[in-house]
Symmetry: C2
Subunit: 142 residues, 2 copies
């Protein structure tokens, strides 16, 4: 029996994911943010003043991962937390002004990574690629 890495979806995906993350990290590090914070920021830029639970429902990571990333974001002055009047266990999560101001630059960085990475594909292929990924993901999400 043999196994060819270059024909293994899992291997290729893992490798590609690390290349993307590295590329994005380089582009956003001047903004003072890191890749793991990106999905969280995306949600908070849409709407802040939410509970961790609300955030969790929109982000594809485990609760513990989110909690840890949030605490680093608080440490780094990207978010603040206030009491939730409705529930003493939960807090409300707010962007700081500093973090709010990063939005456009961050969007641009991410778009640029995507654009550049996909330039090797033509427009039809790009659309196809995204669609294939969405299907694989939804098939795996159980």
């Amino acid at each position: 029996m043999k196994f060819e890495k270059e024909d293994s979806a899992g291997y290729l995906i893992n490798h590609m994911a690390r290349l993307f993350a590295k590329e994005l990290q380089q582009r956003i590090s001047p903004l003072g943010i890191v890749v793991g914070q990106f999905p969280i920021l995306l949600e908070l830029w849409l709407k802040d003043g939410v509970s961790q639970k609300d955030l969790l429902s929109k982000i594809d990571v485990e609760q513990a991962t989110l909690a840890n990333t949030l605490s680093r974001m608080e440490r780094d002055g990207l978010i603040k937390r206030t009491k939730n009047p409705a529930d003493a266990r939960a807090q409300l999560i707010w962007l700081t002004e500093k973090a709010a101001a990063l939005r456009n630059d961050a969007y641009q960085s991410a778009q640029n990574v995507n654009l550049q990475a996909l330039t090797v594909l033509n427009s039809t292929e790009q659309t196809q690629f995204l669609e294939l990924m969405r299907r694989v993901i939804s098939g795996m999400r159980k």
Copy 2:
């Protein structure tokens, strides 16, 4: 300006990579190995008794990542290291019998993950998907 995660290649790739890793981890954990060891084992199953440098040239991670994973593999009884007569800085890396014996089961596990994950695509789409990924990767590898 807006940003849609579901249309972002980077976001989808990251998410998909974590789903794959989780799936593979579940399948190989009965074998006593973990996902980060997989690429290294793949190479050693082909040929062991090699230096870390040789391994590194075949594996798409940084040298420090490899060194750390190797030391956990040694701790876990998957590899042994012997002196390299040709160079006192380097050592030769060998699979233990235990690790050598895992090969077929491990191959099978990985194939099963790939097969199951890609069942949502037809045969043409599967081929296409792999090809698109290979092109994106080679475009990003600088």
